[in-house]
Symmetry: C2
Subunit: 303 residues, 2 copies
């Protein structure tokens, strides 16, 4: 199961009802915070996400609308007497950025902050847990920026419970069977694992790509992901502005989705200049389907 | 006329519907922002305050719930292509605090930022415009902290229009008369100014005191102000916590208001541990009346 909660998805200029970029991804039982614009801690509260479940935060780049909420969140964790370590993955400089603010505001934390600074221009695996792997997706923006690719690791094979029961196989063997082992019955017969199990459940994957100029070279890395979030700051008639500011248009996001043959495209990071976000959907749908629109507080659930 | 708009008035721990400290004071036609907790830019939008009217920001101290919204606001002003200078008055270190973040996020501003750093432990006048003076109120907190005292400057004397018309005094003399000059009529008679004018309108004053331990020595400085905002993080049964964290209780705020014989007391900076802010009012009212409670989005208007 994979659940994506959009805490904010607008570009920098604030409006009273819009939030800058932040998302929570729950994948294979683990929870990750992606980007942390101003107000993220309040958005987490509004969406009833337990602070203690956040152990890793991924920051795409050091523009304010993606990171100005980090210091407030870190401080609040301290006020709440958090104990577990908090891991921050982000561009080189992020440790200094946070520690400088903690020092000047004389904030002392109850927990350890571990920084993992990124500076490579090539994709790299930056986190491997038992259940999930995370790799960077180098993007092209005005400053050093990474997207992030989250993949469930394959689980165990699925036991065909009727079969093992019929063969009277002791439960003690189940753990070995789901790992792929064959079984020798008391009769001496060997039962092949493929006759006892089905393949592991399909794994899910999520690619987060914000902020970036149109970058077709990232298509190989995200080929076939289940869900792609791709920024679309502009519509196609502002393609010159997108080019100049190193952002993408909705159509360009659609082209990336189409070339990478992803399962679903979610658009976000809309410029405040546009009134109707449906226009982004319509434009991307010319080249790709299905397209969905991010919105603060929205949940996307995948099985 | 004086108008106080509360943008936020809670202490640090966030809840989904509470905002940290920030206020807008409009006094004698000038507008000031006092403190700037996270989310202040959105609160300004919600309360329809024109960004361009903010020329001076006063920061009491460098704890996050009073200053983490500053960098976002400063950045947004830049995105909106602000031109007028912006003056930031706050503790020594605030310039470094902001400039370091601007540098790391590669934010270039369209306007000049002027920092006015404070480090005195004695009250000092830090701003004098034609219409308003602002002085610091040294407070006692865990880090260097100032409150701020805003005073309207006395206006001109008020012309008794019936009298000057009856005496056929030329309009050209009115400006001099309201400045206090006598008038010589064509007949040679001298008319005393006090026969032509009434004293200037009563001036208004506002004292902002947050965050602070109970500090009776500030009573002299704020004696007789029209409105006192005083923090009350705790109720009296947590007086030990207030003492330890250098905050005040509602009763202590009431005592300050009573000793300083202020016109009205507004309480704020409530700890999130309390459910009912009416308890703060009731406690302060034991020693002083009238007491009001700050709340996000609330306006207080004085004539």
């Amino acid at each position: 199961m994979m659940e994506l909660i959009i805490l904010g998805c607008h570009s920098a200029t604030p409006k009273s009802n819009l939030n800058p970029t932040a998302q929570v991804l729950e994948i294979n039982g683990e929870l990750f915070l992606i980007d942390c614009g101003e107000g993220t801690q309040v958005q987490l509260r509004r969406n009833r996400i337990k602070f203690s479940r956040i152990k890793h935060i991924f920051i795409s780049h050091l523009h304010g609308d993606h990171c100005f909420g980090l210091i407030g969140l870190i401080s609040t964790f301290g006020l709440l007497n958090r104990q577990p370590d908090l891991h921050i993955h982000g561009p080189r400089g992020i440790e200094n950025f946070i520690k400088h603010q903690l020092a000047l505001t004389k904030t002392f934390l109850s927990y350890q902050l571990a920084f993992h600074e990124l500076d490579s221009d090539a994709p790299e695996v930056i986190l491997e847990t038992e259940k999930v792997s995370v790799e960077t997706i180098p993007l092209e923006h005005r400053i050093y920026t990474n997207g992030f690719l989250f993949r469930e690791k394959p689980g165990d094979r699925q036991l065909m419970i009727d079969v093992v029961k019929e063969l009277s196989i002791d439960k003690a063997y189940y753990k070995r069977i789901v790992k792929g082992k064959d079984v020798q019955l008391q009769s001496g017969d060997i039962i092949k694992n493929e006759d006892l199990t089905l393949p592991p459940k399909k794994t899910l994957s999520y690619a987060f790509c914000s902020d970036t100029a149109f970058k077709p070279s990232l298509v190989d890395q995200i080929q076939g992901v289940d869900v792609l979030y791709h920024e679309s700051t502009f519509l196609e008639h502002h393609e010159d502005l997108a080019f100049k500011t190193k952002h993408s248009t909705a159509k360009q996001a659609g082209i990336i989705a189409q070339k990478a043959q992803v399962g679903e495209l979610i658009l976000g990071h809309f410029s405040a200049r546009y009134r109707n976000s449906e226009d982004f959907k319509a434009e991307a749908e010319i080249v790709f389907d299905p397209v969905k629109l991010a919105a603060s507080g929205q949940k996307f659930i995948y099985h």
